[in-house]
Symmetry: C2
Subunit: 113 residues, 2 copies
DNA sequence: TATTGATACATCATTTATCTATGCATCATA
DNA sequence: TATGATGCATAGATAAATGATGTATCAATA
């Protein structure tokens, strides 16, 4: 797990990317997938994920459908049409941001003002 | 400027990297340097920077020295010995985090569970 | 058969990094 | 003499994520 705050702002694009790749997913599955893909380094908390899912649902970015599997209810979330557009811009922004950070981190010390 | 929250957790390592590269710097100079290096995309607010500088000073990560230049007071901050160690781990963590995000963002859609 | 751990959803209070807004002061310029 | 750039500072607001907690089903095990 990374120091508390780095994750901020990255959860939403990560979620959108996952749904974009895999189609409909349910909460528990999302947590496991992120944990697995990040080699255990990113563990989304339920207290973070469910409010985010509900918010994106309310925004019309996600659509939902409940299915009963082995006596347990799973609530599947998928990208709406609007959500697919949103995903493109969210991922673009994150990648842009990361290159900016990378730029600062890799600037040679000799580059003085 | 990026959407509000992405910056969270990155300000400290960015600051440490800057001081590590350039030695002692003062607040206003730091804001300008980050703005310039990020091509205007990252603008640190004074309300964010000064409390951070004071906190790092209190932690013994930074050392300070005031100089009067052209009638204006500049408060220079530099890494302490402890701060140099801290910088190494902070930058390491940020880079590790970024590769993890990159890993998730670039995973091929065909990689299903 | 009782307990534990995994599965599955949910909410509420707390934390905390950053921003907004504001304040003060000096200097250069128009 | 007003404005913008330089320079430091703080207090209150914002909002994302966490921690803590709750409910319930199912599988494994002791």
């Amino acid at each position: 797990m990374y120091s508390k705050e780095l994750l901020k702002g990255t959860l939403k694009p990560i979620l959108l990317k996952l749904l974009s790749d895999r189609g409909a997913m349910y909460g528990y599955e999302i947590v496991q997938a992120v944990k697995q893909m990040s080699l255990g380094k990113i563990v989304i908390k339920e207290g973070s994920l469910y409010p985010l899912l509900h918010a994106l649902l309310a925004e019309g970015i996600l659509e939902t459908e409940s299915r009963k599997v082995d006596g347990r209810t799973r609530k599947y979330y998928a990208l709406s049409k609007k959500g697919k557009t949103e995903t493109v811009s969210a991922l673009g922004e994150l990648e842009d941001f990361m290159s900016t950070i990378k730029l600062i981190l890799t600037t040679k010390p000799t580059t003085q003002l």
